[in-house]
Amino acid sequence: MTAILSTRGLGRSFAGLRAVNAVDFDLSPGEIRALIGPNGAGKTTFVSMLIGRIAPSEGRIFFDGAEVTALPAHRRVRLGMAYTFQITSVFGRLSLRENVALAARRRLRRGVDAAVEEALARVGLAERAGEVAGDLSYGHQRLLEIAMGLAQAPRLLILDEPTQGLADSEIAAFKALIREISATTAILLIEHNMSVVMELADRVTVLNFGEVLAEGTPAEVQASPAVQAAYLGTEAAG
């Protein structure tokens, strides 16, 4: 199967420090991929390069068979990538409905309202559509971010630590939602919660010191001595 997203030799330095180094990465359509690694492994830098928030120092990025390395972020989003922020970044003074409508309106001329209702319903926020986004709890703002991602009907959805700050019941609902979405969308997930990774991911990529340390099924990765060493070495708690 041809990959929907690939990188070749992707790297980025900050003031001489290599945050990401020579990463070759392939993601298949319909796949749920988890990206894990110790703090400071370069995960957020890596996905920021994918979406175009940060320019790479070297290497190339391909989306859906075309090179996107030089495209600005908004052009990549138009091609079908979507990104949810690690730190929630909703439009705090606008209503939930308007937040999601902004996401939907870019691709839809008509039927925006229906798409908005549907996206909000899927994350369980339909009843609160008229409220101001800034009044939501942190966990609900994360769900709103995901609804904004859904409303874009992307072919690749990048989620940066989506379960951070969610309650256990919300995490269960989140897992179900991601499985449902993955029928139509490839998903790349930065995640710290190992139970989420183990249950959801088809494959896992482990980054350490900006390089790919291991890649495989959740079970393979969990069994890898190199991965265990990396985690034990930097985060004693695992």
Binding site: H74, V77, F85, F91, E98, R107
Partner: protein, 311 residues
């Protein structure tokens, strides 16, 4: 939806009724206020809705004013064509200034726009052979005739001002209700998020600067033609501060705010200038009080207390 247009339509109707009722002095003041409110509406598109604070809007106002006044003065162009030339000039100047200044943000954007406007003002003085320099240009009454209507007479002048104001008011309402308008608000709230929803935020901001300049140009060209004077004083920093003040006072990010702010401030300055030559003191005091106590202005207070969904 309908309600918005009804409220704003009612304001325009009231201003039309006022044409027949107002005593002569206030009739003249209101005509000025309506034209200047177009300037404020344009400023509000950029500051209130897009969140960009410019300190150089006098440049766009003056581009409209001189763009209309100089062809009339130098080549005897008629007021209709001159008006179009003024608006076009302002739009082009705004497009160029926007394309350059939008490479910066925040405080740097404020200073860059201020500097461009200052350079424009000085250029008007330098080119005094054509612009009249400090003296400006007086446009003869004989030239201010459109379809044999005398625009310098009080009645037609008021109605022309009302037409300009009505078009600008409804245009800004339609803009802010449109998809593009919503994106401008999104940029004000969180530019990075808007970009990652796939919107070309630079292009949208450039559109906002350009449209804002067009409104300012409408006001500048209209003011020059209707009141018969084109002067460099309209290009000074003061005329960049005024629209900021009007919009802050009336309520940034509301459609009615610019008009309310212009109206109140005009009368405030007018009253003060009867009392003292230092009437600009009022401007300073109001600016400080607004930033301290009422950052939402009149419109913000209305929205908070009476009408939450006010556009």
């Amino acid at each position: 939806m309908r309600r918005d247009y009804l409220v704003h339509g009612a304001l325009l109707a009231a201003l039309l009724v006022a044409h027949f009722l107002l005593p002569a002095y206030h009739h003249g003041v209101m005509a000025r206020v309506m034209v200047l409110a177009c300037f404020a509406i344009g400023y509000n598109v950029l500051f209130g809705y897009t969140g960009l604070l410019s300190l150089g809007h006098a440049l766009f106002f003056a581009a409209g004013m001189y763009g209309a006044g100089m062809p009339m003065h130098l080549w005897g162009t008629g007021p209709g064509a001159a008006f179009a030339m003024g608006v076009l000039a302002a739009t082009l100047v705004a497009l160029v200034v926007g394309a350059l200044a939008l490479r910066t943000a925040g405080v740097a954007f404020m200073i860059v726009t201020l500097m461009f406007a200052q350079a424009g003002y000085l250029a008007l003085l330098l080119a005094s052979r054509w612009t009249g320099g400090d003296q400006g240009i007086v446009i003869a009454q004989a030239q201010r005739q459109l379809w044999s209507i005398d625009l310098s007479a009080e009645g037609p002048r008021y109605l022309a001002a009302l037409v300009l104001f009505g078009v600008c008011l409804i245009a800004s309402l339609a803009l802010m209700r449109s998809r593009r308008g919503r994106v401008l608000i999104a940029i004000r709230e969180n530019e990075e998020r808007a970009r990652l929803l796939g919107y070309d935020t630079f292009a949208m901001k450039l559109m906002a600067v350009t449209l804002s300049g067009t409104f300012a140009g409408v006001a500048g060209a209209g003011y020059g033609i209707l009141f018969g004077y084109v002067g460099a004083s309209f290009a000074t920093v003061q005329y960049s501060i005024y629209p900021l003040l009007w919009v802050l006072l009336g309520g940034a990010g509301t459609i009615l705010g610019p008009f309310l702010g212009t109206l109140f401030m005009y009368y405030l300055v007018d009253t003060a200038s009867d009392l003292t030559s230092a009437y600009l003191l009022v401007v300073g005091v109001v600016l400080i009080l607004l930033t301290l106590f009422a950052p939402g202005g009149i419109g913000g207070e209305l929205r908070r207390r009476l009408w939450r969904a006010m556009p």
